[in-house]
Point group: D2
Chain length 131, copies 4
């Protein structure tokens, strides 16, 4: 079963075009990824406090249609390993009222140590192995 | 001469990893694009008020290194026409202290009318023609 | 029964101190007020589209304790009329796990017309009368 | 001479009313306070990294008029000690084109240790003493 997180657009997330601002989709996508990680036992904030930093190295996003004030939607999260040190999150944003696909995103992640070098601690390795 | 906009990281833009949050780069990129348009005589906010909406349809971003509190940097903006109705903004974020490339972005834009249909008003057509 | 809206802290809302950034509480408070208005039949976004703008003229906030990553909480909303043209929203933010009061806020609102002049349209007058 | 920081409204800071969103003023005010502290030799981010956390305990803001896309403005910062452990930042936001006062803010701050208890390290004590 695909992991999803439910959201509702908040008015402050909309810009002067009256639609959700582009940058806000990255907030939604990030929050959904962190909830996904949490469901696997990985707490992003705790990892950061231990100097294990998951970092995004590439984002590709196709905006299909714009979310508007009051819209309810969900963010779908899937993850695929792409190399020893990298994984990809495949995410969709779907409007609830009609199931319309609003956005498609591919986010490539790795983990780095305090010096910013790629580094795969056991906790994250376990997650990647289970994919 | 390449168009650039100067910035300084503000502390509130940094997240619990102590670095600029991923979504904030989209704020920087957007502001730099709008300043670029303004330098060409196109005011994004005025266009929106006239129901001429420039919308992003695709973003590709490579994060090379992370901006930190206090960093000063500039965003470079170039634009290329890719079809009758689409253009691409090619943007780089460069840290000032050492000229390090922090981020590379390609943003595909189009303009839509009130109904969300692709539509190229003369103002924008002129810009695209001049590219 | 007091009107409340449920929230969960999202990691991107936390700053380099590892706690929710001060400005984000104003996002929470605003969203809760707009949900309250919606429950009374007033849609903030629709009103804005009709050039009826509800505007905040004064905010007073006492920060009691800081929300952290993963915290769940609710925002309580009460409203009181203070004059012909002004009302006050009295809001509390309460952490769910232990009922701890995190923040107390008083927000004074009025409505203005397109020229920015105080103006009380019937829709809002009805809300104020019912308080 | 009063300490000021220059800003320009960025379009993404504006909401569906076409004006700067209320919460964004707290970003401006915070950034100006941190620049002020920096001018006194105190780096907020470094202090946080050393677990010395400056925290806001009360905000009072009077919104006089709304900033709009493209507006340039400055934030003025003054600070006054109010007790052994508390200081108050007195801030104004002034629009450049006509010197109009847009916002008045009083922000009460203290510093806390890792356990969240009030605590005045020498660095901050020195600042307070110099006021």
């Amino acid at each position: 079963m695909t992991f999803t997180v439910d959201f509702k657009v908040r008015d402050y997330e909309c810009d002067l075009q009256g639609i959700v601002n582009n940058s806000v989709y990255f907030n939604y996508l990030e929050h959904a990824r962190h909830e996904f990680l949490l469901s696997k036992g990985l707490d992003f904030a705790e990892l950061a406090a231990c100097n294990i930093n998951l970092v995004v190295i590439r984002s590709e996003v196709d905006y299909k249609s714009s979310l508007k004030p009051g819209d309810t939607f969900f963010v779908e999260v899937k993850v695929e390993r792409v190399s020893k040190l990298k994984s990809q999150f495949l995410q969709k944003i779907v409007r609830k009222i009609d199931g319309k696909l609003m956005l498609n995103a591919v986010t490539t992640w790795t983990s780095v140590n305090e010096q910013g070098r790629p580094y795969l601690p056991e906790e994250i390795s376990c997650l990647f192995d289970s994919l």
